[in-house]
Amino acid sequence: MIGNSESLISDPLDRELVQAVQGGIPLVVNPYAAIAEQIGTGETDVIRRLERLLESGDIRRFGVVVRHRELGYRANAMVVWDVNDKRVSEIGRLIGRQSCVTLCYRRPRRSGRWRYNLFCMIHGRSREGVLNNLQLLIENCGLETIEHEVLFSRRRFKQRGARYVTQKESRDPLPCQTSLTVE
């Protein structure tokens, strides 16, 4: 499953729709009509396609995506765990259900460079708040014996929704690729 590269949305118009809405819908009176016009179909078709993508789970949710920091949730910690591979799915599901956790993924280990195979994200209004939540998480889920590290964020260099650039579209050029020398 690592590096699943096949796009499972294959319908060409669905892909155009994904491209049109991935950065957000326009906040106008008839947003779906505006999108429909952009991709050359009707408003009803746009709505029906979005409903279908929601039903299939390709769209997990459709709505307001908040910016945590700006809303006062200034502390965010990525907590990484070194879980026995045999138990990682069970522990992952347990952690993923806790209300303070906003993401929970299994990822690969990298020999000699990275030992942790389970990642979760905890947001909070303060560092102390995040650490308190982590302590509760450890107690609730019985994680006392599992090695972990807490990686608080410092600077945020970028945050925005994913852009699923389609194959036919060219990539953003690397700015100043030749002149930007790194000391």
Binding site: G63, V65, G96, S153, R154, L174, P175, Q177
Partner: protein
């Protein structure tokens, strides 16, 4: 010139709080979604639309739209780098230069730069990581998701 009152200079009002909290999922897929919202929260269509526009222009929301299931629409990965402190801003700028990078954070760890890359497919993803390695002369550790355990229903906000 009188400064326009900013939404950020005062506590959020009830309408703003409801729009932020109650429509993280199930945003209406109707011809006039702001009218649907207005009916449910008890304001006018115009108020609902303008308040969301204002929340967006003040960057309290990043967008209104879909959150895709990871790796269903394209390929994505979490990448980590160990960057000498004095080069961090420059390397972060190089990483930010890619349209495929949507999150990029400094974190408290020996591996101090963490970013998410999303592309149409795995090959494009790998070529970006290689290019970053080549440009910076630093190793990029590629940590794609294997399994997702979280059901993303949004982020419940608690007001102070």
């Amino acid at each position: 010139m009188a400064q326009k009152e900013s939404i950020l200079d005062r506590p959020l009002n009830e309408l703003e709080r409801r729009l932020l909290n109650d429509f993280q999922e199930g945003f209406p897929l109707t011809s006039r979604p702001f009218r649907t919202i207005a009916e449910s929260v008890g304001c006018t269509e115009d108020e609902a639309m303008h308040t969301l526009q204002q929340l967006q222009s003040n960057q309290l929301i990043s967008r209104v739209g879909p959150v895709f299931r990871p790796n269903r629409v394209g390929a994505s990965t979490l990448a980590a780098m160990e960057v000498p402190a004095e080069r961090l801003q420059v390397v972060a700028d190089i990483v930010n230069g890619y349209g495929e990078v949507n999150h990029n954070y400094e974190r408290e760890h020996q591996l101090n730069l963490w970013f998410v890359v999303t592309a149409a497919n795995r090959d494009m993803l790998e070529s970006i990581l290689l290019e970053i390695e080549h440009t910076t002369g630093l190793e990029v550790i590629d940590l794609p998701m294997i399994e997702d355990f979280h059901i993303n229903l949004g982020f419940p906000l608690q007001w102070l």
